[in-house]
Subunit: 148 residues, 2 copies
């Protein structure tokens, strides 16, 4: 079971459709839940956001936070990490922060910090990128071909 | 003037719409040309693909190839690089390879190797990511706010 906790709504129709498409493709491989936390517009609300995120995380979940300074993996390394995690834990939760970043409360709960890039992406696009990489990981782990 | 040379068609409607949207947003800041080279399905055709790409590059263009082992920049560093390049050269050309990668012919012509990630993305998604970062760079260089 994969859970993605993210902050803020997806405004652009094409991003919503991309997310829907990868959600559909992923349903072949795993149960997937996407939880959307409301965006806090004020800087001092990052801990409220953090508490909201933590409410959706149970003790038995392995939490991967997306952090710009986190570990940088190749797609193959990411696939292999997911594969290994699923041996011991069937609940993997990804957390994507909002425009304020991630609250320390969430960072402390994190089991693994993952970085896709040194670059900053909009959270809408980031959700698509993460879903695509998870989908790619399942294809890799099932030895299925997947075009670049 | 920014040129993006890429390989293969965009099949997914949502990716086409995302590309269209960023193209529209970018038109406020720069002339943009996207050139699509046909995809070569066979491994030994990578040099044909390469020659096709080179046909669209003039001597005065500064060529940035997207390569997984290239330089990793933050969004701010990328914006600053673009800004500096435009002082001396008004023609910047990005090249995104296809599923075969980039031919050596193109790599030799490259002035700068840029990597967005250790991960492999589908070329369709990659085009969106590149356009968004170029758009972000112009926003940064114009001191305009832009939400994550």
């Amino acid at each position: 079971m994969i859970k993605i906790i993210c902050v803020g709504k997806i405004k652009e129709k094409f991003y919503r459709e991309a997310i829907l498409e990868y959600t559909k493709r992923l349903s072949k491989y795993t149960k997937l839940e996407i939880i959307e936390i409301p965006d806090s517009p004020l800087d001092d609300e990052i801990n409220i956001e953090g508490k909201n995120i933590l409410k959706h995380i149970k003790d038995n979940e392995y939490v991967i936070t997306m952090e710009i300074d986190g570990n940088k993996l190749s797609s193959l390394e990411f696939a292999s990490k997911l594969d290994n995690l699923f041996i011991y834990n069937s609940n993997i939760t990804f957390v994507i922060g909002g425009s304020l970043g991630l609250s320390d409360l969430v960072k402390i709960r994190s089991n693994y910090q993952l970085s896709f890039s040194n670059m900053t992406f909009p959270h809408q696009l980031f959700r698509v990128i993460l879903l695509e990489q998870i989908y790619r990981a399942f294809k890799i782990n099932n030895n299925e071909s997947y075009h670049k």
